[in-house]
Subunit: 306 residues, 2 copies
């Protein structure tokens, strides 16, 4: 049952591939990026770094975490409880030559050789701020800002180019008092709107919820909305269908509790984060300004160093 | 049975953590990077981009592939046959609320909940050039150069900071005639030596082999050495123990055959690649110049834009 919107997404995806913005891979929902696309993603990072540097944080720390972490991190952030449908664990092969022979024999006859692998304890991270909370475990935080960029995995394969299984996020995260955490989120909802509007996008900011799993998840989602914990930054890529390209979250003391992080007033730390969906913003800019970068408004090209 | 070398590696790792260069995570062999470390990695990419731009290729194309791809890619590159011990496949959860309850019940009692997941068909890439071969499937190549950067996964957890499970590679890949592919590899063995020496590292280049699996693998490895297909670029981080920080490979027509890629003379395409181990080079620079970037030689800081 394909809708008009589904069709628009597929056609936009085809255009992106045709003009070298996206490179299909052997996996559904996984795309490589062409040179122009990667240049836009780099420009967005440089631009947001500059804006972050102008803000008044006690410290701005740039850290970088790889896409792989421990399975334990998914449990300790409650991701297994809240978003089991999205997580990814890593299986590896630890057999001997005989077991390898059996693996290859299965592969040669088209049998599912992957079933001969075992869980490794490694997992993919679904958000670039998760490793930070583990890093800060047991510490006292004072409203410092962390600037993070990295690859995330979420198991939602789709033909919609905006919904990638593997994508990059630039996040700004503050841990501290409730005021510091919430204030940080609200600051970036404003800063990001200004930034994205300066690139020619029409932006709305709306209250939102995460895709919590199952029936119990519906309660969590409505609680999240009522408490105004999550806001999305949207732009209308397809007529009548705003697409989220960034979001700001106030986690209250969720991560502070799970990782024993304390604010300077002695209370359990609150956290707030703001994440730019780098590929989504890049795609929204192509939808807005066209597939030829040379035809983009010169102010946009200058801002993104294109 | 801990050797002196093991001890030196562990002590160097502790020093890196203490001074904020590496950030331990909940997973063995997986490290985050601090601000200085990431700045060095960025500087290395900028520097190698500039050198690549000065070479005489028919084209220099920058593409970017995410860390995730299809399990099929591991089979079609023969990675499952040659390096099963290093690969990683991704498992996901596709159950209903009842299955989720059972997952959480297992997790709560410390049972291995990961066994309730299923193979997804997604896999992690072990080298950033692999997705390129699939992208070029069925095409004719003319010695163009591809510049790729990305995260790789290799299942070899270790306490040696130089041996990370998740690490980044900057690769230069040429597909074309035998002469183009081999010439490209040899060019970069020279260029990389110059680049790394200009950063103050003492470099040797030596014939090498990949860690092919099992008894049959030993034959493949010695064949690879005899045919001089692989060379490593090494620096002596610990006395008497050179560490590979980059490598150049001539794959002959291996990938050209597997992905039906043709050179302009009508023959099956050969490929050659050169890969910088970005974290390894960064760590070698810290070992050489110390943990305080401000004390690094000014020529090195200038070259890396630190």
């Amino acid at each position: 049952m394909s809708t008009v919107l589904d069709q628009q997404r597929i056609e936009f995806g085809q255009k992106l591939v045709e003009h070298g913005w996206l490179i299909p891979t052997l996996a559904r929902g996984v795309n490589g990026l062409g040179g122009a696309a990667e240049a836009v993603v780099t420009g967005l990072q440089t631009l947001s770094s500059r804006i972050a540097g102008e803000q008044d944080y006690p410290a701005l720390n740039t850290l970088r975490f790889p896409p792989v972490n421990s399975q334990e991190l998914l449990s300790r952030t409650d991701y297994v409880a809240s978003f089991p449908q999205l997580l990814g664990l890593i299986s590896t092969f630890s057999g001997d030559s005989k077991a390898h022979g059996s693996l290859l024999a299965a592969a040669a006859t088209g049998e599912p050789w992957e079933e001969q692998l075992d869980p490794s304890g490694f997992a993919l991270i679904p958000a670039v701020c998760h490793p930070l909370y583990a890093h800060l475990e047991g510490s006292t935080v004072r409203g410092e800002c962390y600037q993070l960029t990295g690859d995330c995995f979420r198991n939602e394969p789709s033909d919609d180019p905006f919904r990638m299984v593997a994508f990059r996020m630039r996040e700004y995260v503050v841990l501290g008092t409730e005021e510091q955490a919430r204030g940080h989120r609200d600051l970036w909802l404003r800063l990001s709107q200004e930034l994205l509007e300066s690139l020619g996008l029409q932006i709305t900011v709306e209250s939102a919820n995460d895709p919590f799993f199952g029936r119990a998840g519906r309660l969590l989602a409505s609680g999240q909305r009522e408490a105004k914990l999550k806001f999305e930054v949207l732009t209308e890529v397809f007529p009548g269908h705003p697409t989220a390209i960034a979001s700001g979250n106030w986690h209250q003391s969720h991560f502070g509790e799970n990782f024993s992080i304390t604010a300077e007033d002695g209370s359990v730390a609150h956290s707030g984060c703001f994440g730019f969906g780098l590929e989504r913003i890049m795609l929204a800019l192509v939808a807005r300004h066209g597939v030829e970068v040379s035809a983009w408004p010169s102010a946009v090209r200058t801002a993104l160093d294109l």
